[in-house]
Amino acid sequence: MARKRKPKLAVWKFASCDGCQLSLLDCEDELLAIAGAVEIAYFPEATRTRLKGPYDLSLVEGSITTPEDAARIHHIRRASKTLVTIGACATSGGIQALRNFRDVKDFVSIVYAEPSYIDTLEQSTPIAEHVAVDFELRGCPINKAQLVEVIAAFLAGRRPNTPEHSTCIECKRRGTVCVMVAAGTPCLGPVTHAGCGGLCPAYGRGCYGCFGPMEAPNTQAMSGAWKALGASEDEVMRVFRSYNAWSAPFRAESEAHEKEE
């Protein structure tokens, strides 16, 4: 079955560190194949080419933090047949969503000499809060093998194999000994979405939850286990308040451990 026309791929950036986009450029082995299979229509990190839409596949990195972004994402949605968000910023608001827990004006006045030049939204929010998203790829940063899988799945018309279960399953398949049970190291793996391959525990560290909440996270029980291993209320609050702080389950759990001020 020969493809008639190469699908147009666009990569868009919103508030983010560019790390997830770079994962695509980092796909050395597959990059040529990708460039051969799709027409890269818009990808400022990689090429000056700017082709008009509509785009068959848009990869969106970053969160919505300004009024311009909030408008731009609607244009992108309209110009995209399939819209995939990549990375924690785009799927949960990212590390910059930490400001959502405070008044953004306070931050602005501390950080900037001329706060009046800053035009920002109160909150950093995921793309899916603004437009319909066809698929969300998790991670901070995303796993490049998963990104290739998503693109390959899109081209083949199949569902990507990016399971939503816990990271524990990846650790066990890999043969990693559980750091929580065997070393008493607090780990977020049991409530964290798979995708990294169980990276940190393989190096003897607890999971930081870079891939955000798994499909059915029991964050309350997780917090209990952390505290049993000696974590303080504050530590529990902080561990849920990182790259995916604004995702509903992690947000609720961190708020449950927030001390009254």
């Binding site: 990708i34 299979a37 524990c168 399953i169 043969g175 049970v181 409530v191």
Partner: protein, 381 residues
Amino acid sequence: MNQKLTLPPDGLERLFEVLKERGFTVVGPTVREGAIVYDRLASPADLPRGITDEQDGGVYRLKPRADGALFGYVVGPQSWKRFLDPPVKRLWRAERDGADFKIVPEEPDQETFAFLGVRSCEIHAMAIQDRVFTGGEHKDPGYEARRRSAFIIAVQCTVAGGTCFCVSMNTGPRSESGFDIALTEIVDAERHLFVVEAGSPRGREILAALDTRPAEADEMAEAEKRIAKAAAQMGRTLDTEGVHDLLMQNPEHPRWGEVAGRCLSCANCTMVCPTCFCSTVEDVTDISGDHAERWQKQDSCFTMDFSYLHGGSVRASTRSRYRQWLTHKLATWIDQFGESGCTGCGRCITWCPVAIDLTEEVAAIRANPPAGAESIKKGKP
């Protein structure tokens, strides 16, 4: 009656050599990442000498032993299923050829294993998985080949762990059959030796190549004493009387909801269980779209995808997923395969990050059955 023999600890060196000469890859216990795992071993030096494990719900720690015992611990986070039924494997590749395509099945790998240090509960676990993969109309040829060729060197348990309950499940601590060779380690101030017996012609043949001598009566008695000690040390018990009906008649017991409050649905229990056999498949393609593969991966009934059907999961609540796992393990497994799916190895208790204990869950359901289930409470049929 099988002649029991005695093997000095340095006899293990010769055992490794003999096994390697016969083409076996020796797999056995070794220390890695703070636990005793099963891995390919070069020599007996890789065995965990003078180490024991302390286990309880959600806790596993290695501790030194005063003696130089090589097998003075119980079972770790892994089981032999890792080798007999690898957690991730490619089943086939397919290539597009115009409008057509062809499928190339994965070549079975030729590695034959000698498993050293297999415990009685683990021998039972293998027999349980045999029924799944080779006992029905359809057989998994890879599993069958690996299993048939595997040389089993059992080690009789002389200590029991904090989460062990093989006595309750009638699966140990002594291996009665299902091995090629069985070792009982005797280590004290005066001596360090193994009482050995063969369980198969293959085992006898290997033993004949080792420097053994007939076991003395006191050595055999000491071996028995140590096994009996392990039997008396069980960290847990599970009352199996009528457990099938108890669970089948209690699908709506409030305890399922209670345990769901603690359960992380992380799937660790199923991943460490030596009998859990569930898998999923992933059909993948490369970027060109001309090459496809199917991979089989170890899966768990605790995932949402496991029961996905037409727009949603059948078992959407953790309550129903925990119930599925426990009821399958202890009840419906008997309907399906004629025996319990639990060997009492205790891994699911130890490796649960929040220490959920199936023996405790069953006891709780038994202690408070709903009205009309009195006969089960008393353990009568």
